[in-house]
């Protein structure tokens, strides 16, 4: 007979508050189905009315390998709307996933990819191109400059945050926030300095973010990077769990905390840089969607990372639909919509679930 700690609770055990209505696989399949349905529905909505049957016919025609017919509806649905909807899903998944990972890496629930100065770095790169009119790489100049900006920002932040070979969360946050402000200042300076109102408009639009840059030509690269990085992140989900328990705990579990943080942050930079390059600084998705996922399936990253990705995709896709049709035929910056849609939903769920009701944790 082995010894055990004999537990006779004095008070009756509190029932677990997290009632799991759906088994996890069912939930994941339902979310995936919702994503596919959303993609099709969102393609049917826009400032120019195209009948649903026509949309379906056009999509089937092209998905079956058909070529452009030259009709206006064909152009709108297949060349303008559909890539934009797909880009929304890809960017949403990428941003949400990056947010979840950064929150885990710095063990801070209010972290998002932008907290570490990534998006501000991307802004510096993009604004540099917009104000100087540089176009040395053609249409790819802007996304590549934004990506380079994000990467450079992360490199600077990581280099400055490193202390005796270790990478500690609070130092990362402090350095990231500090550099974020510096980069934001540089961007504002360039904005104030440029005398082209067209460039100013583009800079402001870029800083708020948007999906109107969707192109079939660039979509596959973005989607491939997001998919690849997602796969690599999912493989590290269990170790990310250990990392969240703290440096000593992960060491005790055979996880090298500093090395894992480096690995995850480099992947996050790749992810964020890629999506920010094509969509600008869309805020809020990376902050809020991971929490929604945790509310649904708990904090275990093996379960919440896939849910985060799918939720992020669905969320941004619909936010973009709202951005396109609310003031049609003009368009709203999508950042406004992510806040308008995200905050009320988030607060509702948070109150319903009774989250963050203790001082610690």
């Amino acid at each position: 007979m082995t010894t055990t700690i004999d537990e006779r609770p004095v008070a009756p055990a509190v029932r677990p508050r997290r009632a799991r209505a759906l088994p996890y696989p069912v939930l994941l399949i339902a979310l995936a189905a919702a994503l596919v349905a959303s993609t099709l529905l969102a393609t049917g909505v826009g400032p120019v009315g195209v009948p649903a049957g026509e949309v379906a016919r056009i999509l089937l025609h092209h998905l079956g390998g058909g070529t452009d017919t030259g009709a206006a509806a064909d152009l709108i649905v297949w060349r303008i709307r559909f890539p934009r909807v797909l880009l929304g899903a890809v960017v949403g998944a990428g941003l949400a996933l990056a947010g979840a990972v950064v929150q885990g890496v710095v063990r801070n629930p209010v972290a998002d990819p932008y907290l570490l100065g990534l998006s501000h770095g991307a802004s510096v790169g993009a604004v540099l191109v917009l104000t100087t009119g540089a176009a040395f790489l053609g249409a790819l100049t802007l996304p590549l400059a934004a990506f380079a900006g994000a990467t450079a920002a992360m490199a600077v932040v990581l280099a400055m945050a490193r202390h005796r070979g270790r990478l500690l969360p609070m130092r990362l946050i402090l350095v990231g926030v500090a550099f974020g402000h510096l980069f934001a200042g540089v961007t504002s300076f360039m904005l104030a300095c440029t005398d082209s109102s067209a460039a100013q408009q583009q800079i402001i639009f870029w800083m708020l973010g948007g999906l109107s840059g969707a192109q079939w030509a660039t979509l596959p690269v973005t989607a491939a990077v997001v998919a690849g990085v997602t796969a690599l992140l999912l493989l590290r989900a269990r170790r990310l769990n250990a990392l969240v328990l703290g440096e000593e705990a992960s060491t005790a579990l055979g996880v090298n905390a500093t090395r894992l943080r480096w690995y995850l942050l480099v992947l996050t930079t790749l992810l964020t840089g890629t999506v920010v390059a094509v969509s600008g600084g869309i805020g809020f998705v990376g902050l809020i969607v991971p929490h929604l996922a945790r509310m649904l399936v708990g904090a275990d990253h093996r379960r919440m990372l896939p849910v985060t990705a799918v939720l992020g995709a669905v969320f941004l896709l619909w936010a973009d639909v709202a951005a396109r049709i609310l003031v049609a035929p003009a368009e709203l910056p999508i950042g406004i919509l992510t806040a308008f849609l995200g905050v009320p939903f988030f607060l509702l769920v948070m109150r319903a679930r009774g989250l963050a009701t203790r001082e610690s944790a």
């Binding site: 400032p47 176009a135 249409a139 540089v186 005398d195 583009q202 396109r324």
Partner: protein
């Protein structure tokens, strides 16, 4: 940290304002036509465009005066039409309006245009509006006005306006009409050109100044600056260049403008038209300037003077008359 600052310092000079874009050279008329865009790249037309979308009213106003209004299948931002006059205003009123502002890509694509025009400096400025890449997707050509010259010199005449008229004349196979229109505009401009002599110092205002906040003015790179020069005045802020430059109230007092030219109808101004002019007249900030003391406050709608259009000369006539009246 030091390394980061050095890196920043290396980057900052690049920020120094300005873009380089050579001015266009119009091609000869007849048959296939090739013109140059603002970056100096060739834009080739095998045949005269048949379905034109003008993203803003200014481009439509130009086409109407070239007699090719029938090619316009839709326009955005029709607000400039409000200041146009007969007989053009009737023609403009018949053009289908796609959006009150600059329309989004999808709405433009629905018109299946073969040419998209804007009198703004570039495509893709307003949120969701077609970018250069979108024009490629919808297989349409695109032309913008080339407001700023290849060097960053101040704009002192209406060359951008005349060049855009000539370029569009070439594209639509009506170079003669374009030349006639330019000649007519130039003649009107010469007629109001001020005799050499004392140049009144002119301050451009785009909104009613609020105490403690910077004022917005039109810099040296704008049509407004060209018009002040042509009308025989001198802008007090020719050392700033942008379209909505922010300047300090102290500088306004120090430079002591003799005339305040209020450009009305900007979207960010709370008051429109004559209400704005009245508010500026009552503004205590300007009371200590010569213009304020002498009550020399004149106004023009931004739809005449913001972007290259044949109506720029109407704005010039208004300003010249007002300067002379003083």
């Amino acid at each position: 940290m030091r390394r980061a600052i050095v890196a920043l310092a290396a980057v900052l000079p690049l920020v120094a304002c300005g873009t380089a874009s050579p001015s266009p050279a119009p091609a000869g008329a007849g048959g296939p036509v090739t013109v140059q865009d603002c970056a100096g790249k060739d834009v080739a037309f095998d045949r005269t465009p048949q379905r034109v979308v003008t993203l803003d009213g200014y481009a439509a106003q130009t086409l109407v005066r070239l007699g090719v209004a029938d090619k316009i299948v839709g326009t955005g931002f029709p607000a400039p039409f409000t200041v146009d006059t007969a007989p053009h205003s009737e023609t403009l009123a018949k053009i289908p309006v796609l959006a009150d502002r600059v329309p989004v890509t999808e709405v433009v694509a629905a018109q299946q245009p073969d040419l998209v025009l804007t009198s703004f400096e570039s495509f893709g400025g307003p949120a969701g509006s077609p970018k250069d890449a979108d024009l490629v997707t919808m297989k349409a050509k695109g032309l913008t006005s080339c407001l700023r010259g290849k060097d960053k010199a101040a704009l002192t005449d209406l060359t951008p306006t005349y060049e855009y008229v000539r370029k569009l004349g070439a594209v639509f196979g009506v170079p003669d009409r374009a030349e006639r229109l330019v000649a007519e505009l130039q003649a009107r401009a010469r007629a109001v050109a001020a005799p050499s002599g004392a140049k009144p110092r002119v301050l451009v205002l785009q909104d009613n100044p609020v105490a403690g906040q910077p004022l917005q003015t039109s810099g040296a790179g704008t049509i407004a600056h060209a018009l002040i020069t042509l009308a025989g005045g001198e802008s007090v802020f020719s050392d700033v260049s942008s379209m909505h430059a922010e300047i300090s109230p102290e500088q306004v007092v120090q430079r002591d403008p003799q005339v305040v030219w209020v450009i009305t109808d900007y979207t960010f101004a709370k008051l429109k038209g004559q209400e704005l002019v009245a508010a500026v007249k009552a503004n205590p900030l300007l009371a200590n300037t010569t213009a304020g003391r002498q009550g020399r406050i004149v106004s023009t709608s931004q739809f005449l003077v913001s972007f290259p259009s044949p109506l720029n000369v109407d704005g010039l006539e208004q300003l010249a008359a007002a300067l002379r009246a003083g």
